[in-house]
């Protein structure tokens, strides 16, 4: 009985997102036709490019990994009533501290075994992100500064801070005496995450790495914290009604800072796994790669639920990896952006669908009444 109703609510919950995705693809098809392409070919490319074979699926998971982290970051803060636009900046700082830790530990301890070194650099990335987020959390809780502004400002700040270190202290020219480079020293081999293809050869050429497992574990941890622990209870209480939380002996300021720190850890881990799994370095960059912003969308489509975030990150991963193949087929990559936007609109406005069915119902009812009269 109970199981039955759970299944029902589950179906209820995913019915609208699925419909939304379907509708978005239909509208996207119009745009594809507009460019003079065949939508079937385009969507075929999208699907085969992201799901056609384990290696392509591996590339999709590669795209998905950072999105899970930033999606978690945004949704976790949301649960405490905080709008963390700053996952972007926390990502950047997390990546930077990962590289820095890799260099520092390596030069102090020499070659560390992987099972020690990898957790160490992950921790460094998480701490970097946490620290960066804590600034916003602290300012919010102690001085009442709106976190939206601080996180926006910290995003821009993070890029310049990162560039400064890339150009100076972490540059190979400083540390290894080479010529000036536009990126940092490389992360030592033993601090790098294992590529899945090394464990499972079917992943072929894809660069997906064990960061995806860390991401999934983090989603489960986030779920557990939010819904099974007192910390989660307190964070959700503060998010829903800080006055009542305070009345219940919950420290609003402590939880605001804590939620922001945990959120920042997730975002920092996005940077850490991206560095340790894919890039092995941090580039000098004028802008950040945008995972923080996509993370907002991921969180919202996933209804700010850690497990929903897993699903929605995968959806975004599929779309953006599939876009590669669409591009190769000569279809403008903007179409994918348009589809993504429309999906979010439909999911946000899941009531659009309800609205339409309501109108229909009302019309039917009117007809009936008129019929009776």
């Amino acid at each position: 009985m109970e199981r039955d109703s759970k299944l029902k609510t589950f179906v209820e919950n995913i019915k609208f997102p699925l419909l939304a995705i379907l509708l978005s693809f239909l509208i996207g098809a119009l745009f594809i036709i507009w460019t003079g392409n065949n939508p079937l070919v385009a969507y075929g490319a999208l699907l085969s490019g992201s799901l056609g074979g384990l290696d392509r699926f591996g590339q999709t998971l590669l795209k998905t990994t950072p999105l899970i982290f930033t999606g978690l970051a945004v949704s976790f803060a949301f649960r405490c009533g905080l709008f963390n636009i700053g996952a972007e900046g926390q990502y950047v700082i997390g990546a930077l501290t990962t590289v820095a830790a890799g260099y520092i530990f390596n030069s102090i301890f020499g070659d560390l075994p992987r099972f020690i070194f990898i957790p160490l650099v992950m921790l460094a990335g998480a701490l970097g992100g946490a620290l960066w987020a804590a600034i916003a959390g602290f300012l919010k809780s102690k001085l009442g500064v709106h976190e939206v502004i601080t996180t926006i400002m910290l995003n821009y700040t993070s890029i310049h801070v990162s560039n400064f270190f890339v150009r100076t202290a972490l540059n190979p020219s400083t540390l290894e005496g080479t010529t000036q480079k536009a990126y940092t020293v490389l992360l030592p081999e033993s601090a790098r995450l294992t590529q899945l293809k090394e464990i499972i050869p079917w992943f072929g050429y894809s660069s997906v790495h064990t960061g995806i497992f860390i991401a999934i574990i983090c989603a489960i941890i986030a779920y557990f914290i939010l819904f099974k622990t007192t910390l989660g209870y307190e964070i959700r209480s503060v998010g829903q009604n800080s006055h009542a939380a305070e009345y219940g002996g919950i420290s609003v300021s402590k939880n605001l800072v804590l939620a922001m720190i945990i959120s920042g850890m997730f975002a920092g881990l996005a940077g850490a796994t991206q560095v340790a799994g894919l890039n092995y370095k941090v580039d000098m960059a004028p802008i950040s790669p945008g995972y923080g912003f996509t993370g907002i969308a991921v969180a919202l489509v996933g209804k700010n639920h850690p497990l929903g975030v897993l699903a929605s990150a995968l959806l975004f991963g599929i779309l953006s990896n599939g876009a590669r193949r669409m591009q190769i087929e000569g279809i403008p990559k903007e179409v994918v952006g348009i589809i993504q936007g429309i999906i979010i609109i439909f999911i946000a406005g899941e009531r659009i669908i309800k609205f339409v069915s309501e109108i229909r119902e009302r019309r039917n009812r009117k007809c009936n009444v008129e019929g009776v009269n």
Binding site: G144, V148, T150, V161, L300, G337, G341, I344, R351
Partner: protein, 310 residues
């Protein structure tokens, strides 16, 4: 030295101008209770369509008008979803941003058959010395470096202030943003007010976009808003949801950026450039932490209004 100071002031005003329009847009929307994260996306649409119009009609002011209209149309998506269907306002805003960035890039492909950027339009809205005034020493020098958008922005601030604080409409807007149910019970149509405000917001953000394209670089580039919509949002919060406050906050951003560009001229060249870059952002945070303090949003900001809910 004087000419440098004038140059910095002019630069600050020019840099602040698109922000002013957009953050006024934010003020209208949020005063009525609708969070408008979509400013960024509306701006990019405004930037694109103002150039498109000018390209084909050779009339930049028509371009500004079209930018405003396109801004309104874009904002109607937000209004329909967030006001009408009570969808999450932030989600909708994020979606509009994503959609607008891709949509303009897509149209660029369709219209100009290329990606990246358009050609510059011949007839943009550029700085012109004002007759008579340009004879006055300092003021003449300054005004000759300002585009008409700058004056328009200042006018928009005054009008916005007047509308929000001196008219019956403004009173209703603020009531709807603070306590929509109270407004509803005295017969104010909460949805209508929110629709109107979101549309005003769209028009202003659209004009902000045209100020970025027609008023500065006279062409459209993908990603040219580069987060300015978010900065405008920050300015709005910084300015405590008040038109004049938002205006001052935008000026502050404009000045910090102008000073950072001028750092070497002002004898600050020894500081690593990255540190100079972060001045506007860090200054904003410090200002909020120290001077301005807690900003209180309109009480119903971001909360969809349900008629029949307790």
């Amino acid at each position: 030295m004087l000419s440098i100071i004038i140059a910095v002031v002019a630069s600050a005003l020019r840099l602040a101008t698109p922000l002013i329009f957009a953050s006024l847009g934010g003020v209208f929307s949020e005063r009525s209770g609708v969070v408008n994260i979509a400013l960024e996306g509306i701006m990019i649409n405004g930037a694109f369509f103002s150039i498109l119009t000018t390209e084909f009609t050779d009339s930049p002011w028509l371009g500004v008008l079209v930018a405003a209209i396109v801004g309104i149309l874009t904002s109607l998506i937000l209004a329909f979803l967030a006001v009408h269907l009570k969808a999450d306002q932030v989600v909708t805003g994020v979606a509009i941003n994503l959609l607008s960035a891709s949509f303009t890039a897509f149209l660029l492909e369709i219209v100009w058959h290329r990606s990246g950027q358009t050609d510059p339009v011949e007839n943009a809205i550029r700085a012109k010395p004002l007759p008579l005034i340009n004879k006055i020493p300092i003021i003449g020098d300054l005004t000759s470096q300002l585009t008409p958008f700058v004056y328009l922005a200042i006018l928009a601030v005054i009008v916005s202030y007047y509308v929000l604080y001196k008219t019956p409409f403004g009173l209703r807007v603020r009531a709807v943003g603070e306590h929509p149910r109270a407004a509803d019970t005295v017969g104010i149509n909460v949805y209508k007010i929110r629709y109107i405000c979101v549309m005003i917001s769209g028009a202003l953000a659209g004009i902000a976009g045209s100020a970025l394209s027609l008023g500065a670089i006279s062409l459209f580039r993908e990603g040219m808003t580069a987060g300015k919509g978010f900065i405008a949002l920050a300015a709005m919060i910084f300015g405590k949801w008040h038109p004049v406050g938002a205006f001052l906050a935008c000026l502050f951003f404009g000045f910090t950026e102008a000073i950072q560009i001028q750092a070497s001229t002002l004898g600050l060249g020894f500081i690593p450039s990255e540190f100079l870059q972060i001045i506007p952002y860090v200054a904003t945070i410090l200002a909020l932490a120290g001077v301005v303090g807690r900003a209180v949003a309109p009480a119903a900001d971001g909360v969809p209004y349900e008629k029949g809910e307790r």
